[in-house]
């Protein structure tokens, strides 16, 4: 998407040529000053010595990265072996975030399409309907979700009363509960970008396809999906990346039995550990992974665009 956006635009549109720097300036300035500088500080912190109970000592050290990659036993004096703990935690986060993104897409795309094909003012009413629940704080929403899906909660009671099941479905404190929580936390972040890219999309193409007796699903696959790709990609980024660092859904719905990256990093700054360099190092590893994936994808898009 990144490059997709960049490459395509450079090739065909330059209505505002020469104004690029000017229009980009506010974003550069505010993010550069209030985020890049602080994050650069954190990058430096990750190479410093940890101060006990939080903070750093200004002495160069690779201890944080060593802790991430090497296991030296409970007391830190065994011969170094490869540390699998944090790789496992990363893998778990990627998997959970990926599943949540998949569910969001599954439910979000049809919803976005449905909204985009409404008329006039109804459209904005539908849009608001999707975002209204998010006026309620995430903590409260997650607690309510917990209440809803617990073993003796309304969902199970209703299913049992209707005779569909005889024993309650155990959802709470499972991986699925975490995925459900992440899905619920970020659903509008999938729906709205897709809606934005399909709204008033020139339907002529797909209508033509329908005229040619293409089935609904062929039309969807060959004509519509490619056209809404930018929206889908934007939505996937907005769901997947924040899900990786989320901690409320894993803690409240998953029972906090297994760390995800978000909770692991939080523990380094707010927990007993107080290990800022390690927290910074884990964040930098996460950050560079996301950056690499985005850049790689951008390159791919660039190549496709060149055809």
């Amino acid at each position: 998407m990144a490059g997709g956006v960049v490459e395509k635009s450079t090739s065909n549109t330059s209505t505002y040529a020469g104004l690029g720097v000017f229009m980009m300036l506010p974003a550069w300035a505010i993010i550069g000053f209030f985020l890049v500088l602080p994050v650069a500080t954190m990058l430096i912190y990750s190479f410093l010595t940890k101060e006990f109970r939080g903070g750093v000592i200004w002495e160069f050290s690779l201890a944080a990265y060593d802790q991430f990659f090497f296991d030296r036993g409970l007391f830190g004096d065994d011969p170094a072996r490869i540390e699998w703990t944090y790789i496992l935690i990363f893998w778990r986060s990627i998997w959970q975030a990926g599943m949540a993104t998949f569910f969001c897409l599954l439910v979000g795309f049809p919803t976005a399409w449905f909204i985009a094909t409404r008329t006039g003012a109804n459209k904005s009413v539908w849009l608001f309907l999707i975002t209204i629940p998010y006026w309620v704080n995430l903590l409260i929403r997650t607690i309510s979700m917990k209440f809803l899906i617990r073993d003796t909660g309304p969902l199970n009671e209703w299913l049992m009363a209707s005779g569909l099941i005889s024993d309650p479905i155990h959802i709470i404190n499972t991986n699925f509960a975490v995925q459900l929580g992440l899905f619920y936390s970020y659903l509008p972040f999938m729906v709205l970008p897709i809606y934005a890219s399909v709204e008033r999309y020139n339907l002529a193409f797909s209508e033509a396809a329908a005229d040619l007796y293409a089935t609904q699903w062929t039309t969807l696959r060959l004509v519509i999906l490619p056209a809404v790709k930018p929206g889908i990609i934007a939505g996937c980024i907005l769901v997947f990346v924040p899900s990786m660092g989320a901690f409320l859904a894993p803690d409240l719905l998953g029972g906090a039995k297994n760390f995800m990256i978000g909770s692991l990093i939080e523990e380094q700054f707010k927990g007993n550990a107080g290990n800022w360099p390690f927290g910074a190092a884990v964040s930098m590893i996460l950050l560079s992974m996301v950056l690499i994936v985005l850049t790689f994808y951008a390159r791919q898009q660039g190549k496709e665009g060149a055809h």
């Binding site: 998407m1 990144a2 065909n12 330059s14 209505t15 500088l37 109804n122 006026w135 709205l192 399909v198």
Partner: protein, 269 residues
């Protein structure tokens, strides 16, 4: 016409939309019901009562919660408007301004707030603010919120703009419209769905933020999330449910209003 009807009604899309709405609203029904709970519990039903609404409006803590709600809403509105404006300009630069210096790293830069874990942004920002001698307060919260709202506004706007071919703008320019007129009269209206989506996402992400706010806020300033998360010593009481329900009512009020305004606009035509 038949083809168009087909497109509007893909098999399974309507049921899926209702699944979506059901999933979104089911937990809220719990919130609303328990806001009328007579018990102090948020999980056990103790009879119908308005006591929590009474507490929200006239209780000893009411002033604090009201101030927190006002702070949250005002910060969310200002941050979302600023972020949407910045993101719209940035998207126009990225997609409509040809090549310029620094363009290649701009995408990563704009999405950086999304990629840095919140707690890291929180600690780093506070360290930075104190290093440059910024006093924490309302303004520091606002600045931090604008920064992390930008990608949430940018991505829908850019996704929208990618789908708009520039033939309309070219036509306008051919008819001697200035670049500003072209932007205002052609591009901006076409981008509106993206801008609205971006604004709404920025708004709800600002309204929900706890971690960053908790670090960069100054003495005496609470937002609703910091008030709610900070209640650990007392436990979560149904008064939070009552506040949430009231907020929902406010937002439903906005929707009804916008729908009425939209309908009036249509009738005039």
């Amino acid at each position: 016409m038949a083809a168009k009807t087909d497109l509007r009604r893909f098999t399974g899309f309507l049921p899926m939309t209702f699944v979506c709405l059901f999933l979104l609203y089911a937990p809220l029904i719990i919130v609303m019901v328990y806001s009328f709970n007579d018990s102090k519990s948020i999980t056990n039903w103790g009879g119908l009562s308005l006591r929590w609404y009474e507490e929200v409006f006239w209780g000893v803590e009411s002033a604090k919660f009201k101030a927190a709600a006002l702070n949250s809403l005002s910060i969310a509105v200002v941050a979302a408007i600023s972020a949407t404006t910045i993101a719209t300009m940035a998207a126009t630069a990225m997609l409509r301004a040809g090549r310029f210096r620094g363009k290649s790293i701009s995408f990563a830069l704009i999405n950086l707030p999304l990629m840095v874990p919140e707690i890291v942004t929180a600690v780093a920002t506070l360290v930075f603010f104190s290093a440059i001698g910024f006093t924490t307060g309302y303004l520091t919260i606002l600045l931090a919120h604008i920064v992390f709202c930008i990608p949430f506004a940018y991505l829908p706007i850019a996704a929208r703009m990618q789908g708009i071919e520039d033939v309309y703008e070219q036509a306008a320019m051919d008819l001697y419209a200035t670049r500003f007129e072209t932007f205002r009269l052609i591009l901006l209206p076409l981008m509106m769905p993206g801008i609205i989506s971006g604004f709404l996402l920025a708004f709800i992400i600002s309204l929900d933020d706890f971690i960053i706010t908790n670090f960069v806020k100054g003495a005496g300033i609470e937002t609703l999330p910091t008030a709610i998360f900070g209640s650990v010593k007392q436990g979560i009481k149904p008064n939070i449910m009552a506040i949430s329900t009231l907020l929902l009512m406010v937002s439903v009020g906005f929707v009804t209003l916008s729908w009425l305004v939209g309908r009036m606009g249509q009738n005039k035509k």
